[in-house]
């Protein structure tokens, strides 16, 4: 199940980030905590999206703020100077919404699942699964020299 979940998540991330945001991604095999994968030298933003059904939990996506600005500009057809913080947040949430929806379309019985509404999480929330004992599947992503992370946390 874990391997299938990881494979589906990678496929969903590739399809969404490359097709909608023109951001080629590479997946990196890693086992380190998410916090160690994200360099301290960069400011990050992130979004989380709950889902419920036969299995319930949440997805998340963590991305450098500078890259959020870039993909927002690509998405909206604006220059980076024209992009504001609200648009960045909205775009990161929508990216995760599409990834989550695409993920659910790849499971065996998608009709039993219900997506929540995506929310922005602060950097303090990036350690959301620390010490909770919940099962987490982390996807380590490299894009244009930046480190991103996505994952699924099962309740």
């Amino acid at each position: 199940m874990r391997e299938t979940m990881t494979m589906n998540m990678k496929q969903a991330i590739s399809n969404v980030l490359e097709l909608m945001f023109f951001l080629p991604v590479q997946f990196v095999e890693n086992e380190c905590p998410v916090r160690e994968w994200l360099p301290r030298s960069q400011v990050y933003t992130g979004a989380t999206l709950g889902f419920s059904g036969p299995v319930s939990g949440s997805y998340y996506l963590l991305i450098p703020v500078a890259m959020a600005k870039e993909i927002t500009a690509n998405f909206l057809g604006l220059s980076e100077e024209e992009v504001n913080e609200a648009q960045e947040s909205d775009t990161v949430k929508e990216a995760l919404n599409m990834i989550g929806g695409h993920m659910l379309s790849l499971v065996d019985k998608p009709d039993g699942y219900q997506l929540g509404i995506p929310e922005i999480i602060s950097e303090a929330g990036f350690d959301m699964n620390a010490d909770t004992g919940k099962k987490e599947n982390v996807i380590y992503i490299e894009a244009e020299g930046n480190h991103l992370a996505a994952g699924i946390i099962l309740n």
């Binding site: 097709l19 057809g77 998608p110």
Partner: protein
């Protein structure tokens, strides 16, 4: 004949992208109207003339399925073609939305061509026929 389009999505970025794609596709749009959820969409539909609705499903307050359900119960609104533009593309959702009156289904992530082809199909028949062929439009997605 220019037509008015209502775009319903809780993401303002997604609304902007859909609007831009329709604009550059060369459709003869009179005005674009926007709503962040189904409730807002119903208010717009009460106040404005709308020829076509593009709606997400997963939204707060009132989702897209509830919106088309409410539209189907209203004599004035049920003839307005609705295209779902959504990440939720399970067979159940597609079938249910079709039963409720949706005439097209575009899955996110999409290519600009997906919107252009679907709208061309619907507008070619529906807009030019002045809204008198409720059951006759088809899209590749159905």
């Amino acid at each position: 004949m220019a037509f008015n389009v209502l775009i319903v999505d809780d993401s303002s970025s997604m609304r902007a992208v859909i609007k831009k794609i329709i604009k550059v596709s060369g459709f003869n749009v009179g005005c674009f109207l926007e709503a962040g959820d189904g409730e807002e969409a119903l208010k717009v539909l009460e106040d404005e003339w709308v020829d076509l609705v593009l709606s997400d499903i997963n939204m707060p307050n009132m989702n897209g399925m509830e919106l088309i359900s409410r539209m189907s119960e209203n004599e004035m609104l049920r003839s307005i073609p609705v295209v779902m533009v959504t990440t939720e593309a399970s067979d159940e959702k597609v079938t249910k939305s079709k039963k409720l009156g949706a005439v097209g289904y575009i899955k996110k992530p999409f290519l600009p061509e997906d919107i252009k082809i679907t709208l061309s199909s619907i507008m070619g028949e529906e807009i030019n026929d002045e809204r008198d062929n409720d059951d006759e439009y088809e899209t590749g997605d159905f």
